[in-house]
Symmetry: C2
Subunit: 104 residues, 2 copies
DNA sequence: TCAACACATAAGCATAGACTTATGAGTCGA
DNA sequence: TCGACTCATAAGTCTATGCTTATGTGTTGA
């Protein structure tokens, strides 16, 4: 979604932790609660926010909601950071390093 | 500075606007107030937060404080976003596009 | 059909943080 | 030296938001 929104969404540590968890693969809302000292509504609300920002997608299967990272959602953040490309550390500025990093 | 901190710092639209302004070149705190409907202490507080996060540096010259974007400060954000590299839009995934974009 | 489940929504509370005015600390020029 | 300035800090207010409990909606299986 919009750039102003995405920063607010990512400013919450719980939501960032959820994203990292989802980066490891799809998970249901209940799966996600594991490891978080959080109630079910709180998790549901966080997922709604992430969904609203387009950072995750929901795949409904019966009574289960499977969440996963949504690729395009990170584009605004990437675009914003690109504005400060000129200010990136020289480590990153070096093209070879960047390519090596892109290859994992 | 730390990754949790940087997202909170960037979640404020005024601070992002300050950064964009500074990306255009060094400026004093008073210079920066121009265009912002904000009091002097508010600006000073925002600059203190940006300074604390290592996103800007301060160059003191008499009673003037000259602020500028600090390169290394964006590294944590870049590192965080890199974790989601696998989820970047295919537009960016394409190496040629990325290189073209890097060349401006 | 109905109890147990998975998830979403409503409503209220409590804290974080962005703002304000007031003031302090240091620097400059007349 | 002293008033005007640039900026920082203090203290208090107000709003946004992340949390809770309570409840609603839809799905599953016995």
């Amino acid at each position: 979604m919009s750039e102003p929104e995405i920063f607010k969404v990512l400013s919450d540590p719980t939501r960032r932790a959820i994203l990292e968890r989802l980066a490891g693969g799809e998970a249901t809302a209940t799966d996600l609660r594991e490891g978080f000292a959080i109630t079910q509504p709180a998790m549901s609300q966080h997922l709604a926010v992430l969904r609203g920002a387009g950072l995750v997608s929901e795949r409904r299967e019966g009574r289960y909601a499977h969440y996963s990272v949504n690729a395009e959602g990170f584009a605004p953040l990437h675009a914003w950071l690109a504005r400060y490309r000129a200010f990136w550390p020289s480590r990153i500025d070096n093209l070879k390093d960047l390519l090596r990093e892109m290859d994992q």
